[in-house]
Amino acid sequence: MNDGPLIVQSDKTILLEVDHELATEARHAIAAFAELERAPEHMHSYRLTPLGLWNARAAGLDAEQVLDTLLKYSRFPVPHALLIDVEETMSRYGRLRLEKDPQHGLVMRTDDYPVLEEVIRAKKIAPLLGPRIDGETVVVHSSQRGQLKQLLLKLGWPAEDLAGYVDGQPHLIMLDESGWQLRPYQKLATENFWAGGSGVVVLPCGAGKTLVGAAAMATSSTTTLILVTNTVSARQWKDELLKRTSLTEDEVGEYSGAVKEVRPVTIATYQVLTTKRGGLYPHLELVDGHDWGLIIYDEVHLLPAPIFRMTADLQARRRLGLTATLVREDGREGEVFSLIGPKRYDAPWKDIEAQGYIAPADCVEVRVDLPRDERVAYAMADDADKYRLCATSETKTKLVEDLVAVHKGEQLLVIGQYIDQLDEIAERLDAPLIKGETSVKARQKLFDAFRKGEIHTLVVSKVANFSIDLPEASVAIQVSGSFGSRQEEAQRLGRLLRPKQDGRAARFYSLVARDTLDQDFAAKRQRFLAEQGYAYRIMDAKDVGRDVGQEQ
């Protein structure tokens, strides 16, 4: 038996012992085909999924290399059934190929006649195909390329897309690397993406995904469409592009509810594209009416379903997806894979943190005891109201005040779900509140002030979850969350992870009411954060002042 760092489990997970001397080497070797699932302190666990194995095939790895890697680094015998399974799964990729035929246009080809027979008989696939040319080839309607790939994936016969991309309209874009430089992993991510054609880059929040986008645009040097989640995020993309590239104000357009500019580089929100009027999507024309050379999807994991359908028609254009996590609460990771492309780059948060590019985080769960009357109210409440009751406990408001006092002088965010509670907290703290009804202009102003240090404390509702950039927030206090969603947690934490100038750790407090639903949800979040490798502590409310006092 060799003494490798991996333990390959028969349930298709791979455990990696982090403290092993070969751990880094082994991690790099398996990252290509296994998805990192959990990264707590000592044992990381990876999962082998068909999608991951097909990703690896798409990236040019074959089954033999995968098996060799497993056998080489495994400490114990590798379950034989798993080896066979890997081999079989990987052999399914690429039996079908989408190719360009000079005579017939887009065609699907195979060397394996029965597979083709099987798929063309599938009810959903038949309408996407044109006439059969010979036993091994069938014409594909080019508008159905994405749809077809998606359905083939579902059938378990993922197609290898060799049909290439349209060039798009050229437009010179260059990176303006004065005073900063592309980080090595950003460079690598861009290169991997470009070599693969299309695909998704997974980087933690705060690791500079925007710059990967900019670098990809510079490599492509074509007109580009960027799809983002909301207007604030669109503005930030614009600012960042103007700062980091040769693009000028006139070349970057915003296409949102408020403004509809179409420029060589256009930033559009998901929302405006999915606006439906009279059964039609009036703004979809933006996407297919122009000859984009590159389409960037920000926060792929939030991509709404209509965008999926729309993307299905864009398969001839290069697509870059950016995300912090491929985990989708709706489990549609497969669609991201087939419509945008396989994962091209992935780095665990902890790695980038260790390199000093993002701030380390210290997560603290503070348990508060509900006062007697609130406990009774909670016990007697309807199920639907229970969570709101315990999450908005008055004791939390008091605790927030204490914590703000402890962290006096630091940039601090209070994040919550319930507006009433936030209103009250904002009032007690005498801090501005950003919520849904706050205008974009007012938000921007407040963010600017916060960034400049004019305001130290900001209370935000869940509208601030996505893509706002608050460089100097070093403490966040979460008073209530939406039922322990993992994705929300990642986003909130992301707010804190931009590197601090003094290298201090970010502090993330969650206030949790003991013995209630709040605690159950917190347990979920705790598991998620601990699995991501963050330091996590639990303390009682009464210890708050003491604990922090000692540290400082």
Binding site: M1, I7, Q9, P40, H42, F76, P77, H80, E365
Partner: protein
């Protein structure tokens, strides 16, 4: 001369070495010891013994024996020589046949005989043979897969006899070159002549519709086949031009209907199809399957992985059964629902769980507790304390010796439908641990499968340590060649045996592993050594993590894992075990009497890392709130709103008999009954109100002592008798050299039976001495009709009636007309 007597003489004339070889090959002959050569010959001719001997013959030996049976006739003394056999076994040579005949003779399945009368004198130098008498019964009605002759079919199939004359007449009228006949027997002979040579048959078949050859090929190895509506009217005269092959063959009598669903290909047709030879695929070398190869490293990886996994899962299964014994169904076995529950608790598929469960049960790791009708683990099970390689050997030995076929569980029930409504219903499957998965021949088959695997592996081994990938098909094919008579028993078991062998690491990556060959070669020590070297040692530390998991990086020592399972739930499946803590699991440990300190101390002691803060917090937090509601037993309680009154009672000396406990400021409990408590209180001058409630039913669980399991010892099924027995037998036989064959009772029974059977075949009368119900011996002369099941049916010509006699009433039998000496 009687065949048995002939055999007896021949055996007597053999050398001691030749007899030793016979006893080694047919150990049943001398168990118990035979008194003399006549008895030995009688035993060797008995049906069961011959059957056993045939099971050990390979395909060419079987073919020669069957051909010899077809070519000889003991009644007429028509024997056959190797040269005679060579003519009807295509592809054979004398040098191939002679050793086979010698072996068959050594096995006492055939014996030397005089040349048939009228044979040329040149053949006097050749050896002629006859088979033992019961061979005919053992081989069955289709020797070498050939059908019966037309004459025999006419004799035995009345429906065919009725039709055959008409059929032949039709053929004659259609100008097919067949002689017309007036009696069924003549018609049969006409058909026989018509189809007698390959050329004749080819001429007949030249006008056959297409697909006929393909259809006839299916009768190539077995003369009988299933055909829908076999008794349909098929006629040459009313034949349309698009007639189907079956109609066509039936109309020409080339297939003979047996009943509504079966037809038979007559002997002469089958023979002609084989080009005039009885055997047309004679070969001395076994078929070599086309096999892929797999490397030694992969095989070892698979074997070690499988063994570690099986042992770990067996341990987990036992733990689960200890927690909750397995309930059995009324009809026996463990039901699907119960199995599913077990599968869930060890996080495994139902089918795999069933096999594992069977494996545990057949190894004695589980026992059926008769009192509770549940499967439990016997207390103080030695297996649990053994090192892993010994645990493995325990399982392997038990598996080799077991008469159960674990892989049959979950397969559809076959066989006659049961009379009761609830089982035997359509879609019913075999339950785990039920009687239906019992297969008495499993040990023999298992042994043979391992031997065959070993054989094939040795034959096809590649130089660089690669071994052939073997599947059920390759094994069956070889079994078919090596033991055609036994191979039918293989087919339902082989697949499961290979699967189970994979589970036990005897097979890996589709090939026989080093361990497998060691076990196949009966070298368990070698296997243990290999295993000891390669099975990773148990770890006795865990890694605790902030996501509330504990990971054991390898096989965790059982006592550790058991304690951990109390405070955390196992997760996932594989060499490393993962345990997840939660408030519920910690509470479980607290319920079992642990406290926060002892839990943390255990974790600190066995963790290679610090106890993470969230885990420590979880344990302490849960412990601090554990027991907010308490449950206990008491026989009665005293409640009063007056706390001081309660305190007074507690300190009152006269209440000590009640053993009061204060469980709340206003409540006391007592171990005495309410009536007794009230009496004591009244004595104290108080007036308690007694609330009568239903008295609790206290159940006492009967504890039964269940014996521990003994370590299974596997000895391979004996292939040869011990040397001592053989030598003793030889001494006995040689001492009785002078005694005439008829002297012992044992031989005379067999001789009598032989006489009866000969008389049945030749329709001759016999004179028998029969004891009637009053104990008087009578001598009768009758014609026997048939013998079976210990009875003989006879025709009494004197009274013109048929009677049935029990064989044990018959003292002796002589062919009628023989003069008694």
């Amino acid at each position: 001369m009687s065949l048995i007597r002939a055999l007896s003489k021949e055996l007597e004339a053999r050398s001691d070495n030749s007899l030793r070889a016979l006893f080694a090959a047919r150990p049943d002959l001398i168990s118990p010891m035979a008194p003399d050569f006549a008895a030995l010959a009688a035993r060797a001719s008995a049906r069961v013994s011959v059957q056993r001997a045939l099971e050990r013959l390979n395909k060419p030996e079987m073919q020669v024996l069957e051909t010899l049976h077809l070519c000889t006739n003991a009644d007429t003394g028509h024997s056959v020589s190797a040269a005679g056999l060579k003519k009807v076994i295509a592809g054979s040579t004398l040098s191939a046949l002679d050793p086979i005949l010698a072996k068959l003779q050594e096995l006492a399945l055939i014996h030397r005989a005089d040349p048939p009368q009228g044979s040329p004198t040149t053949s006097s130098r050749q050896r002629f043979y006859l088979p033992v008498g019961s061979l005919k019964d053992v081989i069955g009605i289709y020797p070498a897969g050939l059908g019966r002759s037309y004459t025999e079919l006419v004799r035995l199939q009345p429906a065919f006899a009725q039709r055959v004359v008409h059929l032949v007449a039709e053929l004659h009228h259609s100008g097919l070159g067949i002689h017309p006949a007036s009696t069924p027997m003549d018609a049969a002979l006409a058909l026989q002549r018509w189809t007698s040579t390959p050329e004749n048959l080819a001429a007949i078949l030249s006008t056959a519709p297409e697909r006929t050859t393909g259809l006839l090929d299916k009768f190539g190895s077995w003369a009988m086949g299933a055909v829908p509506q076999a008794q349909r009217r098929a006629s040459v005269t009313h034949e349309s031009h698009d007639v189907g092959p079956i109609d066509w063959l039936l109309a020409r009598g080339l297939l003979v209907p047996l009943d509504a669903g079966h037809v038979e290909l007559p002997h002469s047709v089958g023979l002609a199809l084989r080009g005039g030879a009885i055997i047309d695929d004679f070969t001395l070398s076994p078929p070599v399957p086309e096999l892929g190869h797999t490397s030694a490293a992969l095989r070892r990886n698979a074997a070690m992985g499988a063994i570690a996994e099986t042992l770990r899962l067996a341990n987990e299964l036992l733990f689960a059964v200890r927690e909750q014994p397995l309930a059995t169904l009324r009809s026996g076995g463990v039901g699907v629902r119960e199995l599913r529950r077990l599968a869930e608790s060890i996080r495994l598929g139902v089918q795999q769980t069933a096999i594992l469960l069977e494996l545990c049960a057949l190894s004695g790791l589980l026992r059926l507790d008769v009192d509770s009708s549940t499967w439990i683990q016997p207390p103080s099970l030695e297996w649990l304390t053994l090192p892993r390689q010994e645990q493995w050997l325990w399982l392997v030995n038990a598996w080799l010796a077991s008469e159960r076929a674990p892989s049959l569980v979950g397969q559809p029930l076959t066989g006659p439908p049961s009379t009761s409504a609830h089982h035997g219903a359509a879609g019913a499957t075999i339950n785990a641990l039920s009687a239906e998965a019992q297969r008495p021949d499993a040990p023999v088959v298992r042994r043979r499968v391992l031997e065959i695997l070993n054989e094939l592996t040795v034959e096809a081994a590649a130089p660089d340590g690669k071994a052939p990938v073997l599947d059920a098909r390759a094994v069956l094919q070889r079994a078919e060649w090596a033991q055609p008579r036994m191979s039918r028993r293989f087919s339902s078991l082989v697949r499961g045996i290979l699967e189970e062998a994979t589970l036990l690491g005897l097979m890996g990556s589709g090939a026989l592993t080093q361990l497998g060959s060691a076990i196949a070669g009966s070298q368990p020590e070698k296997a243990m050594t290999i295993l000891g070297e390669h099975l990773p040692a148990a770890v006795n530390h865990i890694l605790l993590q902030a996501d509330l998991t504990a990971v054991a990086p390898g096989y965790l020592a059982p006592e550790l894992s058991e304690t951990l399972l109390l405070m955390a739930d196992a997760e996932g499946q594989g060499p490393a075990s993962i345990y997840r803590f939660s408030a519920a699991t910690v509470r479980r440990a607290l319920d079992a009497g642990q406290d926060a300190e002892s839990l943390l101390a255990f974790l600190r002691e066995h963790s290679a890392t610090d106890v993470p803060q969230p885990l420590a917090y979880l344990i302490q937090d849960t412990a601090s709130r554990h027991g907010r509601l308490r449950v206990g037993t008491s026989a009665s309680f005293i409640q009063s709103d007056d706390e001081t009154a309660i305190s007074e009672l507690l300190h009152e000396a006269r209440t000590s008999v009640l053993s009061l406990v204060r469980i709340a400021p206003t409540v006391l409990t007592s171990s005495a009954s309410p009536r007794e408590t009230a009496r004591v209180l009244r004595e104290l001058g108080l007036s308690p109100a007694v609330q009568e409630a239903e008295s609790a039913v206290v159940r006492f669980k009967r504890t039964t002592a269940v014996p521990g399991s003994a370590r299974p010892v596997y000895t391979a099924p004996r292939t040869a008798p011990p040397d001592d027995d053989v030598e003793a037998q030889l001494v006995v036989l040689r001492q009785h050299r002078a005694v005439p064959a008829e002297a012992t009772g044992e031989a005379s029974t067999q001789l009598g039976l032989e006489t009866l059977q000969t008389a049945i075949r030749l329709k001759q009368a016999v004179t028998m001495n029969v004891v009637d119900s009053l104990g008087n011996a009578n001598t009768e002369t009758v014609v026997p009709v048939s013998v079976s099941g210990g009875r003989v049916r006879v025709f009494d010509p004197a009274k013109d009636t048929e009677r049935v006699l029990s064989i044990h009433r018959i003292i002796d039998v002589e062919p009628a007309g023989d003069v008694r000496s």
